[in-house]
Each structure stands twice: as C-alpha cells, then as structure tokens.
C-alpha cells in the first residue's frame, strides 16, 4: 500500500435517527478493500461507540479513519464539554447520559470500555470546556 487511505466524516450532534452512519460507511469501505471480518468488526464497534458518544455527549464532531500499512487508526475529535475525570469515565457502568437517550438503549456506561477492549491502542485527550479527541488503533 502506498499513500494511506483516509476517510473523514462530519458527525451531527443530537441526531439519533442517522447516528452511526459514519461507522456504517467505514464498515462498507473496509469490506470493499477486503479486510477480514473480525478486523472490520473491531473497527466498526469501536468507531460506533465513539461516534455515538460525540452525538450524545458533545453535540457532534469529526471522525477520521486512516488505513495504514499495518493498522487502522480512528480519530474522533469534538468541541464538546470535555471529560472531567477520564479514569472514571472509562469504568464500566459510569454514564452521564440523559434520560431521553437512555430510553433509546444508550447510557449503559459501556461505550468507552468497549472501545478499549476492541482496539490495540486507545488514548483520550480531553480538556473541560474545550473538547475531546480520542485516538484508537487496530492492528492487522
């Protein structure tokens, strides 16, 4: 592979009817390239959780997926409220999701743990009042 392939998506905030579209598009692209299903599944799940978090917690953001020679890198950047206590947010079950999205099935506090579990590397760069950037890597 020469130049890395890059996909970029604007993720709208507060739109739950089309939430997950960027992840679905990435899944389709990776399938067409011919990645193994298990790699695609890991990228899809990790990216979906991050995408939904930007919709629910940060009023949207930008998702970028870079396909490199040995790894797929997912970067989710938003200008939302930021995460005050990242360690706490990473714990299974911790959630500040509002009631109306809990009624849709979100808010289990499992999204960030899933992102960690399904990727080989994950880092969270967040500043309260400025925004959050999450970078994940899936090696293949």
């Amino acid at each position: 592979m020469g130049e890395p392939l890059v996909f970029t998506f604007n993720v709208d905030g507060g739109d739950f009817t089309s939430a997950g579209q960027a992840s679905v598009a990435v899944k389709k692209n990776l399938s067409q390239i011919g990645f193994p299903p298990e790699v695609i599944r890991r990228v899809s799940i990790a990216m979906y959780e991050g995408e939904i978090n930007m919709v629910i917690h940060a009023d949207g953001g930008v998702a970028t997926v870079k396909v490199d020679e040995n790894c797929i890198e997912i970067v989710l950047a938003d200008k939302g409220p930021g995460i005050a206590d990242v360690e706490k947010a990473m714990q299974e079950g911790f959630s500040t999701a509002p009631d109306e999205v809990r009624g849709l099935g979100f808010g289990a506090g499992m999204g960030l743990p899933n992102m960690k579990r399904y990727t080989d590397e994950m880092s969270i760069d967040s500043t309260v009042g400025v925004g959050t950037t999450i970078t994940m890597k899936v090696n293949y």
Binding site: T17, A19, S23, I45, E49, L104, G105, F106, G107, M110
Partner: protein
Amino acid sequence: MTVKSLAEKLNLETVCCPCPEKEVSGVYIGDLLSWVMGRAKAGDAWLTIMSNVNIVAVAALADTAAVILTEGVTVDENITATALAKGVNIFTSRNPAYETAVDISKLI
C-alpha cells in the same frame, strides 16, 4: 442454520429479511446497546424489546445474524427501509426472550 429456516421453524413474523442465508450460530439477549455491542458475537440472533431505529446500526456493525423483537413488540415505522439498506434481518416473536432462546437452542 440459516436465518430463513430458523424464522420458518419458529413461526417468526418477518419485518424484513434482506440476507436470508446468514447463518445463526448463537443467541444474545439484551436491550442496552453498548452491552450488545460489547458482548454479542458475530452470527448471534439478537433478542430484544428495543425497537427504535438505532438497533439497525448496532445489528449491522456487530454482525448479528438477525434481530428478533420478542414479546410481540413491533418496530418503529421508519426502520424497515434503513434495515433493508444495511442488510439487517428483523423479525418479531410473540414469545418472551427466554422461550425464543430455548427454541433457537434446540435448532442450532
């Protein structure tokens, strides 16, 4: 067993079945989407009472074989077109999740 024959054997009502030949290899029961994302396996039939449009993306991305809405729950109007476009099979069952899972376990 394929989704199509499973649906026939269980007398499930079809909401949409764009990929009838998918193999069902297990069952996952749950309504909280991140639990499903984290714990369901590819090829599982996903049994839930959650019926809003977000289940379509979850089912597509987690590679579940089919969504089965239990307890006679019906889908929201706008789901079918989205599910067809994303290749997600959706059925409804009058039975509760436990009975449905037991029935599936006898077949697969």
